[in-house]
């Protein structure tokens, strides 16, 4: 671990200078480091303890560390691979490569230490590194950066405050040591500390009410980096949430509220519910494909939070599984978007169309990604959704279950929108010469597709990791046997489902082939209700795709506006201060000093 972190820290500088020779060397350095990290950490035994920079025993490799590090390194490897070609379009390739490596350094550091201050340091390094990559994207990304840093700082500084509160009470920064003592504190203190520490996770994973930054930041950041932001950096937040929920442990710290769920978790679950609602319905409205997926991240963050907060055999495992599902799916989807933008230059859905015939592999990546996010078998997305649903129904938490269903079904709606608007439909004349993305870009996408389907049919490997984490926190581990997954309400076999799927597919294919072949006609030979069209660019339904649904909730309150108005209030106060500064000094000053002296005289 220690050597990995050192290599990464040095690698940032190395990458910067190498990329001045040839800009493709930067991502290659990142790829090499990620693969090295993946190899090292895959084989490292759980429970190893190392020191760093002379600090003893500051790095600890727990089961949770392993799980999250592996997810991170998979995402970063694919990102680096993809970048080898994409970096030719990056605005500042040297800084981009160096800061990407630094981001990886920060994130891995967060996963590897239970020392709260060291964790905070690594956290902020990751934040600062990613902070300076975001403005390299579109024009609006500069304002987005401010949202990012402010909300992230709110979370981090609340975390810092909570850390010092704990330190003043217990004299140590090591989370595992604290967790032993905290149960005996007063309820108010427990609530305060838990909320303070968790808010870093909440801000980072984009849960309501700190979700407003996701849309602009993920939507406007450089295209491949959006994959890292959505697929990996928000998982840092989920890591903190999982760590704190499991270590404290929240399950026993607060009183039971409903069906075995304690009241603090219940509050978190409701935050998750609202996030799902907001994420889903906002995503349905978006016309920009990256902002749409950014809202999807909000919704999925809500799922993860619900799963984690349930803190039981099935639900917690479901939440953890959903982390890897969303990481893979978001990466896939954003990388496919990056490929599309690489070729067409726009992210607006209604400016594209019919790209499937030009970019089939990209389409397949996107398709598998959305199948995973929607939670459809046989991809891995279904496994985690199933676990969460089972857990919710077995506890009788029907309101949350309703939100979960809404999120799941709503996700069909919003993921279908780019599919229909970008890949299917009429090919615009300006896109006639668009080619498929270069091979190097296709390879990581194909790898991710393979992983999603592999873990959907054979989820054992991931379940092993997940159950290790559950055992680390002293929970009853999820029960599974080969490909059969058990819960208190029933079981199913992922292999059987896959086989049935193939059987059905083969039957349909057989019938299809036996029957006479269809004649291929061009895309603009359509049923046009008797009209004669010459411009088929306009014959593409993509603008305001769900207009009828959007109308139903048009007058919704906007949290971005609410936050902006708070900022405006603060700015108004600042303006007031500035006003005082600009007055001429003379009588004003004399007054001020005299009054102050009088006050002090009386006051002491």
């Amino acid at each position: 671990m220690q050597s990995l972190l050192l290599y990464l820290a040095v690698g940032a500088l190395v990458g910067y200078f190498l990329s001045m020779i040839n800009r493709r060397l930067g991502p290659i350095v990142l790829l090499a480091l990620s693969l090295y990290g993946l190899f090292t950490l895959w084989n490292m035994p759980i429970g190893s303890v190392e020191g760093l920079f002379g600090f003893e025993d500051i790095l600890q490799f727990t089961a949770l560390s392993k799980y999250f590090s592996i997810i991170t390194l998979i995402v970063f490897s694919c990102y680096a691979f993809f970048n080898i070609v994409w970096i030719s379009k990056a605005k500042r390739p040297h800084a981009f490569s160096a800061l990407s490596i630094l981001t990886l350094f920060g994130t891995l550091g967060v996963f590897l230490t239970p020392h709260l201050i060291a964790l905070y340091i690594f956290w902020e390094i990751a934040v600062v590194a990613s902070l300076f990559i975001v403005p390299m994207g579109k024009e609006e990304s500069k304002k987005a950066t401010i949202w990012y840093i402010v909300i992230s700082s709110i979370g981090s500084y609340m975390f810092l405050y909570g850390t010092f509160l704990l330190y003043s009470k217990f004299g140590t920064f090591n989370l595992f040591e604290i967790s032993g003592d905290i149960a005996s504190e007063s309820t108010g203190f427990k609530w305060l500390v838990s909320l303070l520490l968790l808010s870093a996770g909440i801000a980072k994973s984009g849960i309501f009410p700190l979700h407003v930054w996701l849309r602009n930041v993920h939507g406007n950041a450089p295209d491949t980096f959006s994959a890292v932001l959505s697929g990996q950096l928000v998982k840092m937040g989920s890591y903190i949430i999982a760590l704190l929920l499991g270590t404290f442990p929240i399950a026993t710290m607060f009183s039971q509220f409903y069906a075995g769920v304690n009241i603090f978790s219940y509050v978190l679950i409701w935050l998750g519910n609202i996030s799902i609602l907001i994420g889903t319905f906002m995503a349905i409205k978006q016309n920009d494909m990256k902002m749409l997926m950014a809202y999807s991240t909000v919704a999925n963050g809500g799922y993860i939070l619900i799963g984690l907060a349930l803190l039981d055999q099935v639900g917690f495992a479901g939440g953890l599984f959903h982390v890897i599902n969303h990481a893979l799916a978001a990466t896939m989807i954003f990388l496919s978007f990056a490929a599309v933008v690489y070729r067409t230059g726009t992210t607006k859905i209604d400016e594209m169309g019919g790209l499937i015939f030009k970019m089939p592999v990209t389409f397949v990546t996107y398709l598998v990604g959305i199948i995973s996010i929607a939670g459809i078998p046989p991809t891995s997305g279904f496994v985690s959704k199933w676990m969460i649903f089972q857990s919710l129904i077995s506890k009788g938490m029907f309101v949350t279950a309703m939100f979960a269903f809404v999120g799941s079904i709503g996700s069909f709606l919003y993921v279908f929108r780019p599919l229909a608007g970008v890949f299917l439909g009429q090919l615009k004349r300006k896109d006639k010469d668009v080619k498929e993305a270069p091979m190097i870009m296709l390879i990581p996408m194909i790898i991710l597709v393979a992983l999603t389907i592999l873990w959907g049919v054979f989820p054992q490997q991931v379940l092993v990791w997940v159950t290790d984490v559950q055992r680390q926190f002293g929970m009853e581990p999820f029960k599974f046997d080969g490909t059969v997954l058990y819960s208190s309400l029933g079981h199913w076999d992922s292999w059987t489902v896959f086989v049935m799927f193939m059987v059905g597919f083969i039957i349909a294919a057989v019938i299809y082939i036996l029957m006479p072949k269809g004649k291929k006609i061009p895309l603009d030979d359509q049923y046009t209700s008797g009209e004669f069209l010459h411009n088929f660019d306009l014959y593409h339904y993509a603008t305001k795709y769900y207009a009828f649904l959007e109308r139903e909730y048009e007058g919704h309150p906007s949290f971005e506006d609410w936050y902006t108005s708070i900022v405006n209030v603060l700015k108004a106060i600042g303006k007031g201060v500035d006003y005082f500064v600009r007055r001429t000094a003379s009588a004003y000053t004399f007054w001020m000093a005299l009054v102050l002296a009088l006050l002090l005289w009386v006051r002491w």
């Binding site: 939670g375 199933w386 649903f389 009788g396 299917l424 009429q426 349909a508 269809g518 339904y541 649904l549």
Partner: protein, 293 residues
């Protein structure tokens, strides 16, 4: 053994699904004071369409149609039909519901892949409607799952014993019935397929073989959905008892659809999000507190 059972289910769905559809057409016609086609009309339609070559707009269209039919067949394999249960214990409710969505997704993908905006509009409406009917459906079934402490369809089927869930969970059954109407795409929730309004929506570019395949998919889907309802609320039963119950539910659905006009899509979604959801939660409240008849 399992393969035989699965084959049995498919053949049942094929023959009786098409037959009942024909009967349904007859009944609709009689209600609307016409003579109507013979009961075997759907078989004729199917074989006629399958025997002609059609037109295709590209590989995604073909793939979508195959995926649609394949997905439905896959999900049908899990549904207990009559006395035939292919995967006892493993026919998890959520698995079946999500397998349906493969079919829907395949169909949606293929249809939109034709490049016709009518298809896109129809699919957009279909997905929106799905957001409407799935939520109350899942909630009310969820309360049943909670009550029986299992999410296996066959287990619920056998746990009913002599008492049908229709009697035990009347409000839940009502909600499921309303959702069923939406799932089947029958009036008043026919907006996605609106024939004259959006030129049949998703089916606008379908011809010959493709039309036949999708008709088959439609039949299987109806069969699976109504079978699910019969299993969950009417206690399944042996082969012919099952088919009788199926017929009753089917005739009820057809009767309702033959006299009602079509809701606009936002009216439909708005409706689903008010009345059925409230009813579903009433049912949940009753179940959780033990008010089961």
């Amino acid at each position: 053994m399992t393969a035989l059972k699965v084959a049995g289910i498919f053949l049942t769905a094929f023959f009786f699904g098409l037959t009942f559809e024909g009967i349904g057409r007859k009944i609709t016609a009689r209600v609307q004071r016409r003579y109507g086609p013979p009961w075997y009309q759907n078989f004729i339609d199917l074989f006629k369409t399958l025997s002609k070559h059609g037109y295709t707009h590209g590989w995604i269209f073909d793939f979508g149609v195959i995926m649609a039919l394949g997905g439905i067949i896959a999900s049908l394999g899990f549904v207990p039909v009559g006395g035939i249960v292919a995967f006892p214990g493993m026919d998890n409710f959520f698995v079946i519901v999500y397998l349906f969505t493969i079919g829907s997704l395949g169909m949606a993908m293929g249809m939109v892949g034709t490049g016709n905006p009518w298809a896109s509009i129809g699919v957009a409406r279909a997905l929106t409607l799905m957001l409407g009917y799935e939520v109350p459906y899942m909630i009310s079934i969820g309360s049943m799952l909670y009550f029986y402490r299992t999410s296996s369809i066959s287990a619920i089927m056998s746990a009913q014993g002599g008492d049908w869930n229709l009697v035990k969970f009347p409000i839940g059954a009502l909600v499921a019935l309303i959702s069923l109407q939406g799932m089947l795409g029958k009036e008043p929730f026919e907006a996605p397929m609106a024939p004259a309004e959006i030129a049949s929506g998703p089916m606008v570019e379908l011809s010959a073989k493709y039309m036949g395949l999708l008709m088959l998919m439609n039949t299987f889907m109806e069969f699976a959905e109504i079978s699910l309802f019969v299993d969950l609320f009417l206690g399944g039963g042996t082969y012919f008892v099952f088919l009788l119950k199926y017929l009753v539910v089917w005739i009820l659905v057809v009767l309702i659809s033959s006299v009602l006009p079509r809701f606009r899509i936002e009216q439909a979604v708005y409706f689903y999000w008010t009345v059925p959801i409230i009813l579903a939660f009433v049912q949940v409240f009753m179940t959780v507190n033990g008010f089961v008849f």
